[in-house]
Amino acid sequence: MNDVPIVIGSATLLLAAGMWLMLPRGAAAGRSFGTLLVAISLGLFASQVPRLGNWVNDSVFLILAAVAVLSAVATVTFRNPVYSAIWFGLSLLGTAGLFLFQGAQFLGVATIVVYAGAILVTFLFVLMLAQPEGQAFYDRLSWGARLSALTGALVVGVLTLTVVSVFQGPAVEDRPQSPFSKVALDDGILADQHMANLGAQLFSKNLVAVEVAGTLLLVALVGTVAIVAQIHKPAGGRERSHG
């Protein structure tokens, strides 16, 4: 089992190199080679993820994960912002599918409602108004491509390593304090009253966090309105004589 860190480490490096080659750097050279590197490294990552023991579960999980990760890569590497937004939406759908697959129904649909339904539509709205074809060359370049590719790959590598190491040793279902234990799952997200349980948790244990988040959003909204109101202050245009 000692080769796990080595495999994941090399996969991380491959991912960083491939991502760097794929990012829009102003030159198209090496993009297909970069795609190949990313594909190999994702295959290496997938080979290290513990299996669920049932080919249906395994294939559903791997397909959803592949959709989420590959479209995330496509999001940052496509040069047309509208396409990036669409790939981001597909990545969100993959993530929502993973949530649903785990039984977290609310998180799954909330991801779609909040991100795909509201935020991304607003992105698209702005992008279309901005007319990406007319933008300058430097707007379509990726800035700091090397560092960002490395950081992204490192995050993926460290997370995968953590998950793999968690699943080694005794089965997680049998550990008493684990959030994946049978009792915790049946009383929690897999319960029949999924939403009622979640609401009770949010508005008792995490009430302060909910209120703070709500206040933050309200402040942001008020700030936006204040900025808009400043822009629309009459700038003496009415006084111009129509003589």
């Binding site: 396409y83 669409i86 129904q105 649909v109 539509v121 698209l124 709205f125 279309m128 029949d192 939403m195």
Partner: protein, 413 residues
């Protein structure tokens, strides 16, 4: 394999029924349009190769064949990938919504390998049913936006922009209308929402008339039906976001549009008009239901949905299209406050019932019904006084001040 076969059969039947229903709803819409406009409408196409006319019931078949045999033309200036993706997205989202919508309650069919009666919903037991509907209807926006953008045509693009603004704006009153029902029921499952109304015999439209108004108006806007069809108004934008589409791709857009109307009708019936419930029908538990009751429930639900669809189609010929500023005013200045007022009233009533431990709504219905109607009337009057709907479509001279003509200004630039 039985746990897999039952859902697959359900999905197959549902998709078949929906596509057929969409085809015949188009015929119904054309009949109603003809009736309203004092024409005869489509009444010729019957059984092919004979002279039997059958009131024109063969028309959807002929329409479908026409769409299939039309040239599917892709203009050279479009963005090919997104141009193809847009109609697929919108139809897939519209069909996927039906996964949680109950078509009746259960069938007392005892198949080997299944537990208990067959539930007449593709995905039973989804605890977030209502949010799922909400999520997928927000995915459907993508079809419209992408279709408008990928067509690379000014009219399509304007249609896409208008529709994204309109759908984002009206999602909020839609959600507020849903929230009122969800709070009074205490569940997001559509099956539970129906069952709650069936048990008490008090439909949500009686206790929340204001919520009903807000929800119906918002769902008209979400389905982009007249008077809210600004994304594709023929007089201004040719065809809006599907101007550049032809053949089967256009058909996908049109079917999706009709399915949105069907979804809206189902939701209005389920949330506010008791679903499969009608007074005098027995309300047994799911596992002792008889075939007659199960069948009757399906019939009642479908009849109610058809009635709502008829209402949609009559409205189409009764109300002129809004101007865009009227549309936005209606969303933000009228529907949003009305939705909030309804939500507060419902929350207050529910809180009072909790405090007094009133469980059985059927004998204590006067309080929520009275409060609901009182709040609705007061809020309606306030809205009518302070945010009147301007239906005068002439240019507003107080806003639109044409700059005075200055001969020198043209030359100097």
């Amino acid at each position: 394999m039985a746990p897999l076969i039952v859902p697959l059969v359900k999905i197959g039947l549902l998709v078949f029924a929906l596509l057929t229903a969409a085809a015949y709803l188009v015929l119904l819409e054309r009949w109603i349009a003809a009736w309203v406009q004092d024409r005869k409408g489509p009444n010729r196409v019957g059984i092919p190769l004979t002279s039997i006319k059958l009131f024109g019931l063969g028309q959807p078949l002929a329409d479908g064949l026409k769409f299939i045999f039309k040239e599917e033309y892709t203009p050279a200036h479009v963005d090919k990938a997104l141009y193809t993706l847009a109609p697929i997205t919108i139809l897939a989202a519209a069909l996927a919504i039906f996964a949680v919508i109950p078509i009746g309650s259960v069938l007392p069919l005892d198949l080997p390998g299944t537990d208990g009666p067959i539930k007449l919903v593709v995905a039973p037991g989804v605890d977030v049913g209502m949010i799922y509907v909400f999520a997928l209807s927000s995915i459907a926006v993508y079809g419209v936006i992408l279709g408008g953008w990928a067509s690379n045509n000014k009219y399509s693009f304007l249609g896409g922009l208008r529709s994204s603004a309109q759908l984002i704006a009206y999602e909020i009153p839609l959600g507020l209308g849903i929230l009122g029902v969800v709070i009074s029921t205490g569940s997001l499952r559509l099956e539970n929402i129906i069952f709650e109304q069936a048990q008490s015999g008090v439909w949500n439209s009686f206790t929340q008339p204001l919520g009903l108004v807000v929800f119906v108006v918002a769902s008209f806007a979400e389905a982009a039906r007249l008077p809210f069809d600004l994304p594709e108004c023929e007089q201004e934008l040719i065809g809006g976001y599907h101007t550049e589409y032809s053949g089967m791709r256009l058909l996908l857009f049109l079917i999706a549009e009709f399915l949105h109307m069907v979804v809206a009708a189902f939701l209005i019936v389920i949330l506010f008009f008791g679903g499969w419930h009608f007074w005098g029908m027995p309300v047994p538990a799911d596992d002792i239901i008889s075939w007659s009751v199960a069948g009757l429930r399906i019939l009642v639900l479908i009849a109610k949905v058809l009635a709502v669809i008829l209402f949609f189609m009559l409205i189409r010929w009764s109300w002129p299209r809004f101007r865009f500023d009227q549309l936005m005013n209606l969303a933000w200045k009228v529907m949003l406050p009305l939705g909030l007022v309804n939500l507060m009233a419902v929350a207050a009533v529910v809180e009072y019932q909790h405090a007094r431990e009133i469980e059985d709504l059927s004998t204590n219905a006067w309080l929520p019904v009275g409060i609901g109607w009182g709040v609705a009337i007061v809020a309606w009057i306030v809205a009518a006084l302070f945010a009147p709907l301007h239906t005068d479509n002439r240019p507003r001279l107080d806003v639109l001040q044409p700059p005075a003509f200055e001969p020198n200004s043209l030359r100097s630039k």
